[in-house]
Amino acid sequence: MAFSKQQLQKFAHLIRIEISDEKLSEMKIDSVIEWLDKLQKIDTTNVVPMLSPSAHSLPRRSDIVTEKNSRDSILKNAPDDAGKARGYFAVPKVMDE
């Protein structure tokens, strides 16, 4: 499957990476994706997809509160201090919810 430049830009936008068209073509993403196409010709009819090597079923934990207040630890690496004194992460202003 070949992706147009616009599609690749859409993907970059979806994962929020600013990237120029030139850079995007330099990165040879088309050639990588083109190479991935070789899997298309493999007959996988009735093959169940394998999503993890783990064979057990999902473990479940008991409903116990194990984590104490660790606000200071959580906030310690925050890149913006503006909300720290009041215990918040400061993020760019967003109006639309």
């Binding site: 979806l14 600013e18 995007l24 050639s31 990588v32 991935l36 890149p79």
Partner: protein, 489 residues
């Protein structure tokens, strides 16, 4: 104090127990050597001398009290992908350049609990994405073999292989998502073990591709690797994919009888072009095994040559999702933009290097609504075919052997295309897709005097026999991989 540097873990533990050396002496010898060669080799992102000496002093106290821990006083390097409480953990990315976690990964905690000494955090490819370690934001580590040639120590665990091969750590940790332990170990003359998926916890280890990421040890001998793995392995209820399994070796691996072993060669790998050296050394080791009584059979893994493409769909897909959390909001780099979206985009444009971006765009493409079935699910089906084929192969043999790479270490400045770099994982990725254990062990020196390795591959949770066979191969190869020999000083 070169004699200290050349000790294996097994030997060092004997001498520590007997009181012939102290943990502080051993640690100081390594710190001195890091001081001397660390900058040249660039194998550490962060060195932790105070922590190391404090760890060593605590070890000495336990030896004095007569109750040492299994790895007491053993100075190791920790791949900078494992979160270490209070110590910068970067994943070799600008994104996490100044990130200091307030928690300790399960693997590094287990080393603390085993008495190991932390020398520092080793270099790697950014977010473990690479085969050369040169995608590191902190620059590439150097392969100590023929240091003047500026060769790659492989990737992504290249900082650890550089450090262990050069005697800047006695052993260390890696993570193997598509070959990131085995390939670098092979081209630095070391033993690199990718255990069964789920044997070592991923908790606290920066995620690259969750269904493939496998922590494991890197060491100079198979016995050392087994001792490190004994410390790392074990069930962890904080990791839902962790297996209810363990691995434990007391002092050294018990010898396995070669006469009773049936060893498989993968037919499909015959068509893969490899260097004459690799072919010669691999064949030599096979005939050694044969002479020692092992039975050699041929098995077929029909889609194994498609494993690489399946891997380069699954791994980027998972990575594109796992790396979404690096958004500049709660920790790590933030580059302020004109609004929220602009801030995200500028932050992630500045924080991630090119290879990480490439894989994330590819990963997003293969998960997009138009290609999810065609790429991602098809890759997951091919993955099943490969895993099932391994299961069938292990009905015909006990263990499988194959090369670890096509050739020896490349110069760091080689300018390969992305696909050529990806092809370096050709012999290693299928084992990650299947989740089965595989160990790269040195098989000899090429004509250019650089080391090569071969893999022993086993069924899930057959990690012990994988290492046991590797130990035979190690002995047949007889590679001299003493750090002072490798580095020439």
């Amino acid at each position: 104090m070169t004699h200290l540097i050349n000790l294996t873990i097994t030997k060092a533990l004997q001498k520590l127990k007997s009181g012939e050396i102290t943990a502080t002496e051993l640690t100081q010898a390594y710190l001195d050597r890091i001081e001397k060669f660390g900058a040249d080799l660039n194998c550490y992102i962060t060195v932790t001398p105070e922590r190391a000496l404090a760890d060593a002093a605590a070890s000495d106290a336990r030896y004095a009290a007569g109750n040492p821990l299994p790895l007491d006083g053993i100075p190791i390097g920790m791949k900078d992908l494992f979160a270490t409480r209070g110590i910068r953990t970067t994943a070799a990315s600008k994104m996490l350049e100044n990130f200091i976690p307030e928690y300790e990964s399960t693997v590094s905690q287990k080393f603390i609990d085993s008495g190991a000494v932390l020398l520092g955090k080793t270099n790697l490819d950014e977010f473990a994405m690479g085969t050369t370690s040169k995608t590191s934001f902190f620059g590439a580590p150097i392969n100590p073999w023929q240091i003047e040639k500026n060769l790659t120590p492989g990737g992504s665990s290249g900082g650890t292989t550089s450090a262990v091969a050069s005697g800047l750590a006695i052993g260390g940790t890696g993570t193997d998502t598509g070959g990131s332990i085995r390939f670098p170990a092979a081209i630095t003359g070391l033993v690199g073990m990718k255990p069964t998926y789920g044997l070592c916890s991923r908790w606290g280890c920066v995620a690259f591709a969750s269904s493939l990421d496998t922590p494991g040890p890197i060491a100079r001998t198979v016995d050392d690797a087994a001792l490190l793995l004994s410390a790392m392995a074990g069930h962890d209820e904080k990791d839902s994919t962790s297996a209810a399994a363990n691995f434990y070796v007391k002092d050294e691996l018990p010898i396995i009888e070669l006469k009773k072993l049936r060893i498989g060669l993968i037919k499909e790998f015959d068509s893969v072009e490899i260097s004459n050296d690799m072919k010669r050394l691999f064949d030599a080791r096979i005939s050694d095994l044969k002479s020692a009584g092992a039975e050699i059979v041929t098995v077929s893994i029909p889609n194994i040559l498609d494993a690489l493409a399946a891997y380069y769909i699954i791994a980027p897909a998972e990575a594109s999702s796992n790396l979404a959390r690096y958004d500049g909001m709660r920790y790590g780099l933030r580059v302020e933009g004109s609004d929220l979206i602009d801030t995200y985009k500028k932050t992630r444009a500045a924080g991630f290097g090119e290879e990480v971006k490439r894989r994330m765009v590819v990963g997003t493409a293969v998960l997009s609504s138009e290609s999810y079935e065609v790429y991602f699910m098809q890759a997951a089906r091919v993955r099943r075919l490969i895993a099932d084929a391994f299961d069938r192969a292990f009905e015909q043999c006990d263990l499988i052997v194959c090369p670890s790479s096509a050739g020896t270490a490349l110069p760091l400045d080689s300018d390969l295309t992305p696909l050529e770099y990806y092809a370096l994982d050709l012999f290693t990725v299928a084992q990650n897709l299947a989740g089965i254990p595989a160990c790269s062990v040195p098989c000899g020196l090429a004509e250019n005097k650089l080391p090569l390795g071969m893999q022993v591959v086993g069924q899930k949770f057959d990690d012990m026999r994988v290492l046991q066979l590797a130990k035979h191969i190690e002995k047949f190869a007889g590679l001299d991989n003493k750090p002072t020999k490798i580095l020439g000083k």
